[in-house]
């Protein structure tokens, strides 16, 4: 499953970790959680830090790292399980695949390094095991300077420095995830006229990922109610005037993610009001991508998107005033309340298990401002960083019907003009963008963003 390039990248990751982190580290892969009874489980997903350094999604495994050397702790399945699950690779074969210098049974973990650093896994059964085997608390990493868990923080910081920039193994995987995701969205667009429900379009999209043996990297959003930002139910019928917002991404079998959003008209044709706001969101998207290069502050991209949206809404007549002043007052955030993007890698919000430690540069914290509080990334861009760019426009009742907000922004919103855009509940356009030494490369550029091209795909008139 691993190519020679993959194996050499794994070796390099461990070597670099050994240079950035002194001492021993133990990382658990986790186990598949039970669904309704013990034997009926959700699909296994190994923890991302484990995947980053071990390469393969081995269930119930631990790796020990010290000075660039890898020890694999894993128990071969009991021979009786071959009846139910077929033959398994031996521990020695797996150790060879991933390039582990040593391999031992799981029972050897406790004695290997009782003072090792670790990072808590999401699987709560395995988290209990971490606490027991290490004989100490293993609290979540939050980015705070907790003295007791210093070694874990050091390990987290060392891993962040590695994982912020994607190597050749990662990029091959991320391109594969992007490619399959593009194909899945295209299937969604091309099949929309054949279906009458959100659920049916979701099925078309996810079936493309499934046919490539990829799970979804996160719960797909396939909705005519795009104003619900994390809408992961699919109960609605499609009506001719609806916009369908699709935020869906594949994850490769080795765990690498894509994260893509498109919004298209169910009928195959945007209304004039939909088109105005679609083009505005696209302008923000394009402006951000054009501005990406190493050294640029991601927060400035967010403010550029805010500025583009505020300015466009003034032109359309929905907002009143000077765009700069509107952004300073966070008036744009009535319609674009979330951040412009985030890190992407093994996790769709990469390293979000570490709180804001990965997303925010040292010394920086979330800002309380309405227009900035949901920004997940505030760092200068570096080459080989992969980020999403995902501006949006939404009419969210929880914001627009909020009496306090209506009063606070009463002078700068033209509510009558806004009412003319009632056929726009939510629009988002999101691509996966790799920072390069010269600027950037959009990994998902094969998926159309221009309104006429999107319409053509929905209408089925593009081969």
């Amino acid at each position: 499953m691993l190519t020679p390039t993959d194996q050499s990248c794994l070796h390099q990751r461990r070597h670099q970790l050994g240079q950035q982190f002194e001492g021993q580290a133990l990382l658990w892969s986790g186990v598949a959680p039970s669904r309704n009874f013990a034997a009926n489980q959700f699909p296994f997903r190994a923890s991302s830090h484990f995947l980053y350094l071990a390469g393969l999604p081995l269930q119930n495994a631990v790796i020990g790292l010290e000075a660039g050397q890898l020890t694999l702790f894993w128990d071969e399945p009991h021979p009786d399980t071959a009846l139910w699950h077929g033959p398994s690779l031996s521990r020695a074969e797996i150790a060879d695949q991933i390039g582990a210098e040593t391999h031992l049974p799981l029972s050897a973990v406790s004695s290997w390094a009782s003072h090792a650093a670790t990072l808590p896994v999401p699987s709560s059964a395995t988290h209990q095991q971490q606490i027991e085997w290490l004989g100490r608390p293993v609290p979540p990493i939050q980015g705070s300077q907790d003295q007791e868990s210093n070694r874990d923080h050091h390990l987290a910081n060392a891993l962040i420095q590695l994982r912020l920039q994607q190597d050749e193994f990662a990029l091959a995987q991320l391109r594969q995830a992007a490619e399959i995701t593009v194909a899945a969205h295209l299937r969604g667009m091309r099949s929309t006229l054949n279906h009458t429900s959100e659920a049916a379009i979701r099925a078309e999209i996810e079936s493309v990922m499934m046919a490539h043996q990829c799970p979804t990297a996160y719960a797909s959003i396939v909705t005519v109610h795009g104003e619900v930002l994390h809408n992961d139910a699919y109960p609605h019928a499609l009506a001719p005037g609806d916009l369908l917002l699709v935020d869906a991404g594949a994850e490769t079998p080795l765990g690498w993610a894509a994260d893509v959003t498109r919004t298209w008209p169910v009928s195959g044709q945007f209304s004039a009001t939909q088109r105005d706001l679609y083009d505005l969101v696209l302008a923000a998207h394009d402006a951000c991508i054009a501005a990406i290069q190493p050294g640029v502050e991601f927060r400035d991209l967010h403010l550029l998107a805010a500025q583009t949206i505020a300015s466009g809404l003034v032109d359309i007549g929905i907002l009143k005033g000077q765009p700069e002043a509107l952004v300073e007052r966070d008036a744009h955030a009535l319609f674009f309340p979330h951040g412009i993007g985030h890190l992407l890698g093994l996790d769709v919000h990469d390293m979000e298990d570490l709180g804001d430690l990965a997303g925010y540069a040292p010394g920086r914290q979330r800002c309380d401002r309405r227009g900035l509080r949901y920004l997940r990334l505030d760092r200068p861009l570096r080459p080989q960083m992969l980020v999403t760019i995902e501006p949006g426009f939404y009419q969210i009742p929880a914001l627009l019907q909020n009496p306090d907000l209506r009063q606070q922004y009463g002078d700068c919103v033209n509510w009558d003009r806004l009412a003319q855009f009632e056929d726009v509940r939510g629009i988002r356009i999101e691509d996966d963008v790799l920072v390069t030494p010269e600027g950037c490369q959009v990994l998902t550029s094969a998926l159309p963003t221009q309104a006429p091209e999107v319409e053509a795909y929905v209408q089925g008139s593009t081969a």
Copy 2:
């Protein structure tokens, strides 16, 4: 979401539980487990006992039951979450939907009934909460007579008596799951000639379920290696001479399952050897279904299948000897090692969270015999019990290459004759069968079992 019939069945279930179980019971619904970071979760599945009595899959809820009365403990989402997740029903609205007599915040659980019985949930985070809030261990129910957890055992036994027989609400759901599952398998058959991989067929099948807003009730098996009984990976290409074994079932949004297996030729035509063994498995399937009626011991159905298979293998020349004697020696289990079926309901192995307490009648235990040890159900059948009937024939290397077994059964297997059937790795035919007062009804009978009809669907010649 709940019909008046559903609501009246829920009321009746609670009333009956109140008659069979004295005292108070608390049942937790659980929470969605995290996948790779806290906010990225697997789809939520409420615990089945909760679903049985509450009706709706409410996340992070607890119900209190006493003398047929229901108290709902649940916290409404924080208003800030409306931005991300949209508006939510109020606790009062949900209480009204499910017919709860009282509704309280979650913080009221601890004081409501500290001596209540409960059943451990699969979600390990919630299981910790059960232990903390009740201030006592909440061990898994295993069917053993553990003194300390007597009240939990009593509650389990009372619930088993209810859940063994499906009421009108359950049957409407189970029929819906069966219907969607039949459509999914038909899509799989009809699309096989268009595809070249297991993964692509799986995608076709699951997309039908997804389009109906149904998850899979368990990890689908879609494999050309049917000899691996619980094969839930999809890496293989389809070759013209392969048989494809598909074991896949939908679960309704309210949690009710189907569990169906068909085996079809990738080319659209069984070879002569495949057809011989297919017809043999089908004969066992049909014999069991014909024998089902109230009062019949499920174990006798298993032995009937074993007898049918042993007898057929003698006719074919793979086994040598008297069929009765072969079954007594468990020779049939070389090729049919698993049980003939199991309970089906909210869980695909219904109530398997209670160990064998539901599957085995009081006083009965698993038998050590090779041919019986994997039987999951050993009870006399009752009207409105839903069971699977799923005989199979497999060539499993872990069994057939086992030197001890080859010696033990050396005199009764014709290995040369068996070698002529090398194009049969695994065949299983499984239907969902409801026991009725007169006999039984196959809920999944719309899916063909006869070889010529299966071939016609694969060849696309059946409308």
